[in-house]
Amino acid sequence: MKESVEPKVLIFACDWCPGMGSDRAGQDRLSLPTWFRLIRVDCAAQVSGEWVIKALSEGIEGVMIMGCHLDACRHQEANHRAHKKLETLRWLLEGMGIAPERLCLSWGMGREALPFQGEIQRFAANMKLLRKEGKA
């Protein structure tokens, strides 16, 4: 894995809540890390496990999936399913000896800029910690 100063993080954000949250964070001029890449998807449930696996195998250090609040999905309970599906992927990472913290699932943030900032900063701290501990 190529070492860079800042961790490489990929975020899949649902177009609705977290997408708005990220927009709002930008409008509010919150200080955000510069090293994450955010891909907006129609729904968190659209993110399949393969996407995450592929991202990790291509050298991304951490993947975040952001979706709407668990009881406020625009597609009925799609984010429940996304949560379960991706939670099993975390078990899998654990079984393979990869820190499951590399996959973060986060639900919420409809036009909420501060939580968005908080989540990203917390995840960044986790990634740095993993790097410091030298974990896979």
């Binding site: 496990g49 429940h80 379960k84 099993t88 654990e94 079984g95 000896g97």
Partner: protein, 281 residues
């Protein structure tokens, strides 16, 4: 008391004579070699053998797919039956058109396989052995494996996928260059093996076919054992053993919640510190 093989032969003959089945799927010995066979005449039953362990469920699926009318008899061990149940849940098998000759594995096989349930639900031949793999034995879950070193031995022969009774996608993502780069051996350790295991999270019946088929001897089953343990601990589901229950990954979190966690509450957007509470864990 006859041996298990003789008992199975008698049952197989009876079943064929009754005319309920088009044929019986079993292992047959032919000139000293053993192969799976579809026995359609009573004479053929004489060659029936029980060992080695070979999963017949995928063949039953093939036969049912080819012939939409045929009722298939099958000499089924515990793993066979679990695989058939999971295939039926996926709409790949018609259990109405399947007649099982339930075969319980003996102590030795159960030990060797490290099987948790070495018997089908209805046992016709053999006796039920309650076997729990001892903690720390080779078959127990949770043992640390150096996966980087292990997976470097992978030959990318697709044996694990081909042998798996539940790898049923007509188009396999492992063969698509977009997901797994082609022409590289060993394959990228993350993509190939993670995608394969991820697709089987809620389906794996712990039959051990993948590990048996692997020419490099990768301990693939250890990974699946870990997943199965997590699935049972967190969602209370064991694939293949709960016939009436669909995979818990499909219904919402209220119907099948994670057993050890609460459903996150709706977060007030005016709250001071929202990010801690709304995390879905």
């Amino acid at each position: 008391m006859e041996s298990a093989v003789e008992q199975t032969k008698i049952l197989a003959r009876e079943l064929l004579e009754s005319g309920r089945v088009a044929g019986i799927l079993a292992l047959v010995s032919e000139q000293g070699r053993i192969r799976p066979g579809f026995l359609q005449r009573t004479e053929e039953v004489n060659d029936l053998v029980l060992e080695p362990i070979y999963l017949l469920a995928p063949l039953a699926r093939t036969i049912q797919t080819m012939d939409s009318q045929a009722t298939v008899g099958i000499v089924a061990r515990g793993c066979d039956e679990r695989a058939l149940v999971e295939l039926a849940k996926a709409g790949q098998m018609d259990l109405e058109r399947t007649v099982l000759i339930g075969l319980a594995c003996d102590e030795e096989i159960a030990q060797r396989c490290g099987c948790r349930q070495p018997y089908p639900r209805e046992i016709d031949v053999g006796t039920r052995i309650n076997h729990t793999p001892a903690e720390g034995s080779s078959s127990a879950a949770g043992e640390k494996v150096d996966w980087t070193a292990e997976l470097a031995r992978c030959l990318k022969c697709y044996g694990c996928r081909n042998a798996c009774p539940l790898c049923i996608c007509p188009e396999c993502k492992l063969a698509v260059p977009m997901w797994v780069q082609t022409g590289v051996v060993p394959p990228d350790p993350l993509s190939f093996h993670l995608i394969r295991a991820f697709h089987l999270v809620d389906k794996c019946v712990d039959c051990g076919s993948c590990e048996d088929a692997c020419p490099a001897g990768l301990p693939l089953r250890k990974l699946h054992k870990h997943l199965l343990r997590m699935l049972e601990e967190r969602l209370g589901y064991v694939p293949g053993m709960q016939v009436d229950r669909q995979s818990p990954l499909f219904p919402n979190l209220w119907c099948t919640p994670f057993l050890d966690s609460k459903i996150p509450r709706w977060m007030s957007t005016l709250g001071e510190n929202g990010s801690g509470e709304m995390r879905g864990e």
